[in-house]
C-alpha cells in the first residue's frame, strides 16, 4: 500500500471524487492559483479548471453561503476554510442555513456540501489562529462533524463526506498535514459515524480524535512500558458519535480518559463524559478524567504555548489518576 502524507491523502480524495462526479467542485481562498494555503488542493486547478476549483475573495460568510446555495440546487460543493478560525464569520450560514434547510423545507431541500479546512493550534500562531471548534458544530442537529487522525482515515472519510447528502463539517488537523501513513488506493471509503480502536488495551480507555490520537498513542507506548495497557479509541466522526464503540471499550476497561485539543467548558469531551456516566455508570471504577487545552486564549510565546497544549505527558498523568497511580505520576 502506498505511503502518503495526510495532506496528499486529502488531495487524492478530492481528485478522485472530482473525477467521479462532475457536480463536485472546490471553492475557497487560495485553493486554485496558489495551490492551497496548506497545499491540500495542489494540482487541482490545472486538472479541473477554474470553474471547478474556485478562488474566492476573503468572504467566509459569503462563499459559505454560495456553497449552501449551490448545494440546495444539487451541486456537491467542497468549501475550504483556510482555517476553521475564520469560519466563525460563516457560523450563521452553517448553523442557520446549512443545518436547518432540510428541516425547514419539510425535507424538500437538502444541503449536500462539505465544509473543510484545518483546525486546532499549529505553532505560535497566537490567540486568533489557534482554536479547535469541533464542539460548536457537533452541537448542531443537521450537521455531521468529522475529524480524521490518519492519512488513511483522512482519505476514506473525505470521500464519504463528499458523497453524503448532509452538510458535513470536516476538520483537518493543521499539525497532521505532514504526517505519513499507508493509504489504500482508489475506492477507499470509511463510513461516517464509526469510531476506531487505534490500539487495544485492557486497563484504561483513552478517547480522542484528530491530533490527540497521535498524542494518546505516544502516551499508550509509555504506559505500556510501565505495564499499563491503554486502549486508544479514535472517534473519527464527532457527530453522530459512535457511542457503542466508546461504551463497549469502557465496559471492558472500567476506566476512561477523554482528550481533545480544545477548551474544557462544554467541549466534545464533556459530551463523551456525559454519555459514559449516564450509560455505564456502574461499570466505572473511577471518574472519567478529561485532558484539554488550557482554558486560556493561546499565547504566542513557545514555552507558554507548549504548556497550554495537550501532550502525551498530560494524558499519562490523567491515566495514572483514573488508575489511582498518582504516586507514580
Amino acid at each position: 500500500m502506498p505511503t502518503l502524507t495526510y495532506r496528499d491523502a486529502l488531495n487524492q480524495a478530492l481528485r478522485e471524487e472530482m473525477q467521479r462526479d462532475p457536480d463536485v467542485f472546490l471553492m475557497g481562498e487560495e485553493v486554485g492559483v496558489y495551490q492551497g494555503a496548506y497545499k491540500v488542493s495542489r494540482g487541482l486547478l490545472d486538472e479541473f479548471g477554474p470553474m471547478r476549483v474556485v478562488d474566492t475573495p476573503i468572504t467566509e460568510l459569503g462563499f459559505a453561503g454560495v456553497g449552501v446555495g449551490a448545494a440546495m440546487v444539487g451541486l456537491r460543493p467542497v468549501i475550504e476554510f483556510m482555517t476553521w478560525n475564520f469560519a466563525l464569520l460563516a457560523m450563521d450560514q452553517l448553523v442557520n442555513s446549512a443545518a436547518k434547510m432540510r428541516y425547514m423545507s419539510g425535507g424538500q431541500v437538502g444541503v449536500p456540501a462539505v465544509f473543510r479546512g484545518p483546525g486546532g493550534a499549529a505553532l505560535q500562531l497566537g490567540a486568533q489562529h489557534s482554536q479547535a471548534f469541533e464542539s460548536y458544530y457537533a452541537h448542531i442537529p443537521g450537521l455531521i462533524v468529522v475529524a480524521p487522525a490518519t492519512p488513511a482515515d483522512a482519505k476514506g472519510l473525505l470521500k464519504s463526506a463528499i458523497r453524503d447528502d448532509n452538510p458535513v463539517v470536516f476538520i483537518e488537523g493543521e499539525m497532521l498535514y505532514n504526517t505519513k501513513g499507508e493509504v489504500p488506493e482508489g475506492e477507499h471509503m470509511i463510513p461516517l459515524g464509526q469510531a476506531e480502536i487505534k490500539r487495544s488495551g485492557s486497563d484504561v480507555t483513552v478517547i480522542c480524535h484528530s491530533k490527540t490520537v497521535t498524542l494518546a498513542l505516544k502516551a499508550a507506548e509509555q504506559l505500556a512500558g510501565e505495564g499499563v495497557e491503554a486502549e486508544v479509541v479514535d472517534l473519527r466522526t464527532i457527530r453522530p458519535m459512535d457511542t457503542d464503540t466508546v461504551l463497549e471499550s469502557v465496559v471492558r476497561t472500567h476506566r476512561c480518559v477523554v482528550a481533545e485539543e480544545g477548551w474544557p467548558f462544554a467541549g466534545v469531551g464533556a459530551q463523551v463524559v456525559d454519555t459514559i456516566q449516564r450509560e455505564v455508570f456502574d461499570e466505572l471504577d473511577a471518574p472519567v478524567i478529561r485532558v484539554t487545552g488550557a482554558d486560556v486564549p493561546m499565547p504566542y510565546n513557545k514555552f507558554l504555548e507548549r504548556a497550554a497544549k495537550v501532550d502525551p505527558g498530560k494524558i499519562v498523568a490523567a491515566v495514572n489518576q483514573v488508575l489511582y497511580r498518582e504516586d507514580e505520576a
Binding site: 442557520n96 419539510g106 424538500q108
Partner: protein
C-alpha cells in the same frame, strides 16, 4: 334613411399596453388581488390564534412579486426573506398549501415545520423563505453559480428588503456575483423601513441602487407600485442575466401598508398615520385595475368578478388549512438528516 350618430370616442390606449396580452394583464390583477385577500385572511387567522409566531404581511407590495415573477421561467430559482407569502402565491404555489403551512398543518409546503417565514416548493424552484436578514443573498449567488456551472440558461432571483443592503452578506454576495458574471437578479424591495428604522437612519446613501457601482453591476430604480413598470424592468434584468450573463440590482420603490409583522402596529413611533394614508393612495391594485379599465381591457364588473373569484379561493384555502391534519408526532425527528443516501 340612416342618420349617422357619432359613436363616443373610445379612450385611446396610452402606450405600453398590448391588447393581445389582455389575459396576461388581467391575470396580474388577479394575482395581486389573491395576495391581498390572502394576506388579509392570514392577518385575521393570526388574530384568532390559528397562525402563530411571526407573520409578515405583503400588503402594499403585491405588484413587485407579481410583476417580476411573471418574467421568469419555470426552472429559474427564487429565494426570499420571511416576507414571502406573496412571492409564493405569485410563483404558483397553491393558496391551500401556503395557508396550511401558515397554520402549521401537515399538507403545508414544509409539512407545517417551516411556518410563515420558511415557505418552499422545490418543484417550482421556490427555495425559501429565510429568516436571517441578508443571509439568503449569498444563497442566491450560489444558485446563480450553479446555473453557470451547468451552463443552463437559468437565472437566480433574490428578494430582500432595503435594510438588508447594509449587511455584510449583501456586499460579499454581490461582489462575487459581479466578479464571476453570474446570472443573478437582486431585487431590493425598498419599502422605506426595516422594522421601525427608516432607510435614511440606516443607510449612508438614499439611493440603494447606487450600491451597485461598488461592483460595477447594472442597476435600475423601479416603481414597485406599477406592475407593468416592474415587469418591464424585470424583463430587462432577465435578458441581461440569460443573454449577457451579468447580474443586476433592482431597487424597487414600494411601501408596506401594514406593520412590520402582525405584532407591530400599522403606524407608531416610527411613522405617522398621515404618511401611511398618503402612501395608500398609490395602492398597486388600484393603480393597475384603473389602468386596465382606462385602457378598456377590463370593466368594473370584470374587476368585481376577479375579486369574487379570489375571495372564494382564499376562503377555500382557509377552510382547507382549518381542517387539515396536524403533522404526525414522529415528524419531530424526521428531515433532520437525509433518510437514504444518494446513489453513487
Amino acid at each position: 334613411m340612416a342618420t349617422t350618430v357619432p359613436t363616443p370616442a373610445r379612450p385611446r390606449p396610452r402606450g405600453g399596453l398590448d391588447p393581445d396580452r389582455a389575459d396576461v394583464y388581467r391575470d396580474w390583477l388577479r394575482q395581486m388581488l389573491l395576495i391581498r385577500h390572502f394576506e388579509e385572511k392570514a392577518g385575521e387567522a393570526y388574530s384568532l390564534g390559528k397562525i402563530g409566531g411571526f407573520c409578515h404581511l405583503y400588503i402594499g407590495q403585491e405588484a413587485v412579486a407579481v410583476g417580476s415573477l411573471a418574467a421568469l421561467n419555470r426552472d429559474d430559482y427564487i429565494t426570499c426573506s420571511y416576507r414571502e407569502h406573496g412571492h409564493a402565491l405569485a410563483r404558483g404555489i397553491g393558496a391551500r398549501t401556503v395557508m396550511a403551512e401558515l397554520f402549521g398543518k401537515a399538507p403545508g409546503g414544509s409539512k407545517g415545520k417551516g411556518g410563515s417565514m420558511h415557505l418552499f416548493d422545490a418543484s417550482l424552484g421556490f427555495l425559501g423563505g429565510h429568516g436571517i436578514v441578508g443571509a439568503h443573498i449569498p444563497l442566491a449567488t450560489g444558485m446563480a453559480f450553479a446555473a453557470k456551472y451547468r451552463k443552463t440558461s437559468q437565472v437566480a432571483v433574490c428578494y430582500f428588503g432595503e435594510a438588508a443592503v447594509n449587511n455584510g452578506a449583501f456586499h460579499e454576495a454581490l461582489n462575487m456575483a459581479a466578479l464571476w458574471k453570474l446570472p443573478a437578479i437582486y431585487i431590493c424591495e425598498n419599502n422605506r423601513y426595516g422594522m421601525g428604522t427608516a432607510l435614511e437612519r440606516a443607510s449612508a446613501i438614499y439611493d440603494i441602487s447606487e450600491r451597485a457601482y461598488s461592483y460595477d453591476m447594472p442597476n435600475e430604480v423601479v416603481d414597485g407600485q406599477d406592475v407593468l413598470i416592474m415587469h418591464a424592468a424585470m424583463e430587462r434584468a432577465v435578458e441581461r442575466a440569460r443573454t449577457d450573463k451579468v447580474p443586476t440590482l433592482l431597487e424597487v420603490r414600494t411601501y408596506r401598508f401594514m406593520g412590520h409583522s402582525m405584532s407591530d402596529p400599522i403606524h407608531g413611533h416610527y411613522r405617522t398615520k398621515e404618511e401611511v394614508e398618503d402612501q395608500r393612495k398609490r395602492d398597486p391594485i388600484a393603480v393597475w385595475s384603473q389602468r386596465l379599465i382606462a385602457e378598456g381591457l377590463l370593466d368594473e364588473a370584470g374587476v368585481k368578478a376577479l375579486d369574487k373569484e379570489v375571495i372564494r379561493e382564499v376562503e377555500d384555502a382557509y377552510q382547507f388549512a382549518e381542517q387539515a391534519p396536524e403533522p404526525e408526532p414522529d415528524e419531530l425527528y424526521r428531515d433532520v438528516y437525509a433518510e437514504e443516501k444518494r446513489e453513487t
